[in-house]
């Protein structure tokens, strides 16, 4: 069973010629089949955690460990992490001009699976996955994320999640910028992947709204660069009612 283990993770960024510590000791274990929601106020470091796990070069790991099935993730390059089974659905997906969605998907599926998918079954696989996400087939011929609306970008991220079948999926604010219909479609996509029982999900969100569609097993409150409280789904209800104030007043000085 795949397990992502994060131990005492410390991360800094360089900003304005100064080094700023953003993550201040994160501990978290995500097992295959589990869904963890990470909730926290703006600027608490949620995306930093997501990017650091994926290996974004802007973030410097200054302490702690991350392992996937015992393998040292921090030693791996960005693409190696993805091939090892980590997937990051980004809060702000990037436009890649001149690269079509279909070419992109096939190139990444080839990299992740270790061989080029058979053309016939692949075309069908993509087509059906797009249909389930209510994506127009014309998207396949458009350039990656270019001119996509916020909602379309998020659907495209979940399309990749469905096709790439990672061991651990980190979904960074996949819910933000979605209207209710899109939120439902995207959540259904995430749930299809979860139902396979093959993926551990780290659902990063600011709002409790998405948790009505995707039921977490664990909820963690993230504030000032670390997890400050953990509980079951009921913790989300408490946050819904009371907000993050109780967590930001004391500890967050940044």
């Amino acid at each position: 069973m795949a397990t992502l283990e994060i131990r005492d993770l410390h991360v800094t960024v360089e900003a304005d010629n100064a080094t700023k510590e953003i993550l201040k000791g994160v501990d978290l274990t995500v097992k295959q089949g589990e869904t963890h929601a990470i909730m926290g106020p703006n600027g608490s470091g949620k995306s930093t955690l997501a990017y650091s796990l994926a290996g974004h070069p802007k973030y410097t790991i200054t302490g702690g460990t991350v392992t996937l099935d015992g393998e040292d993730v921090l030693e791996m390059s960005v693409d190696e992490r993805a091939r090892a089974g980590l997937f990051l659905a980004m809060q702000y997906p990037v436009e890649v001009p001149g690269v079509s969605v279909s070419n992109f998907l096939r190139t990444s599926a080839t990299a992740i699976r270790g061989e080029a998918p058979k053309l016939r079954t692949w075309v069908k696989e993509v087509k059906e996955a797009m249909e389930r996400l209510n994506m127009d087939p014309a998207f396949a011929e458009r350039n990656v994320n270019e001119g996509f609306s916020g909602g379309e970008k998020k659907r495209h991220e979940i399309l990749q999640l469905e096709l790439l079948k990672p061991k651990v999926a980190i979904l960074d604010e996949t819910d933000s910028g979605l209207d209710v219909d899109a939120l439902r479609v995207v959540s259904e996509g995430v749930n299809r992947v979860r139902e396979t029982g093959e993926v551990g999900t780290l659902l990063i969100t600011h709002y409790t709204r998405i948790l009505r569609y995707i039921k977490p097993d664990h909820v963690h409150v993230f504030a000032n660069g670390r997890i400050v409280e953990s509980g079951g789904a009921e913790l989300a209800d408490k946050l819904e009612a009371e907000g993050y104030e109780a967590y930001t007043k004391g500890g967050a000085s940044a």
Partner: protein, 394 residues
Amino acid sequence: MAEAQNIPVGSTTAGSIAVAAESTVATRMSAPPSFDVADFPVPHGREEEWRFTPLERLRGLHDGTATATGEGVKVTVEAPEGVTVETVGRDDARLGRAGTPVDRVAAQAYSAFEQASVVTVPKETVLTEPIRIAVHGEGGTAYAHQVIELGAFAEAVVVIDHTGDAVLAANVEYVIGDGAKLTVVSVQDWDDKAVHAAQHDALVGRDASLKSIIVTFGGDVVRLHPRVRYAGPGGEAELFGLYFTDAGQHQEHRLLVDHNVPHCKSNVVYKGALQGDDAHAVWIGDVLIEAKAEGTDTYEMNRNLVLTDGARVDSVPNLEIETGEIVGAGHASATGRFDDEQLFYLMARGIPEKDARRLVVRGFFAELVQQIGLPDIEERLIGRIEEELEASVA
């Protein structure tokens, strides 16, 4: 319409739209056009038309010290039936009709060539196979003159390949008869040391069309000057260009579209990628809409992708409009760095760095290639771009 974005340090992207009574495109040249090299002073490098060019690397083409050697360049023309291929002397009346040299190197080439090659597609002849011209440098110095003429309603594709090592200055003329259609692909695939300076003059007949595709990969210095004029209304020119400038290379494309008659169209799209120390690309896009050229429709665009530090781009679109009675006129120029966020995104999907870089560069060029509209040429170009990426983007 002008735009500029993400300009790397050490690059310029300056544009202007001038509404002028008199053309500054013409007046800012250091001497009026002439076939005689003696009419041009030896450039010192500060002239408007030479200020980006490393004169010291022209191997004497600009100051009269480069003398032609016997076996400079070998030219082979392969033409389908119905096409006439001739080698003619300097006094042939068909030379010098499409344009006049506008700078010292072009005039030097015109003053120094001994024989010219004239390729003629008779009127109403529609070729199904391309005319292939191989220009292979054998290590020497050469001055050349090439004329390609299409009679009325003729249609032809011409592919010119430049390979090997040479110091070459040339004038190329395209004389396109009324209603004729010429597609010309010129590939500069020189060895590292080659120096190539050429003026291309196209004279586009009434209702005729020119599609020019310039592809520059190789050479130490490549400096091309494609120019278009119209012989009658209804003419169309599409000028596409693609360059890949590696460390130490100087690749300069200077274009002029002279809308000198009414109701003609032009569309210019050039894209370049640069990588390595002292890679230098220059793009000058002059479009002139003369007072009499009512109904003109023109657009020009240059985009550059800077893959590494140490490369430099100078991109100068310049649109001069002497009449307001036009359909449309626009230009755009943008130079951007290779985007690390794109790289991260692709790698986060398992794609190895090298493949991700190639994907981005290929995508950048694919946008241009897709506009050419000739499947076999598009395929060939994509193939060449692949090879170039294979060899150089690591």
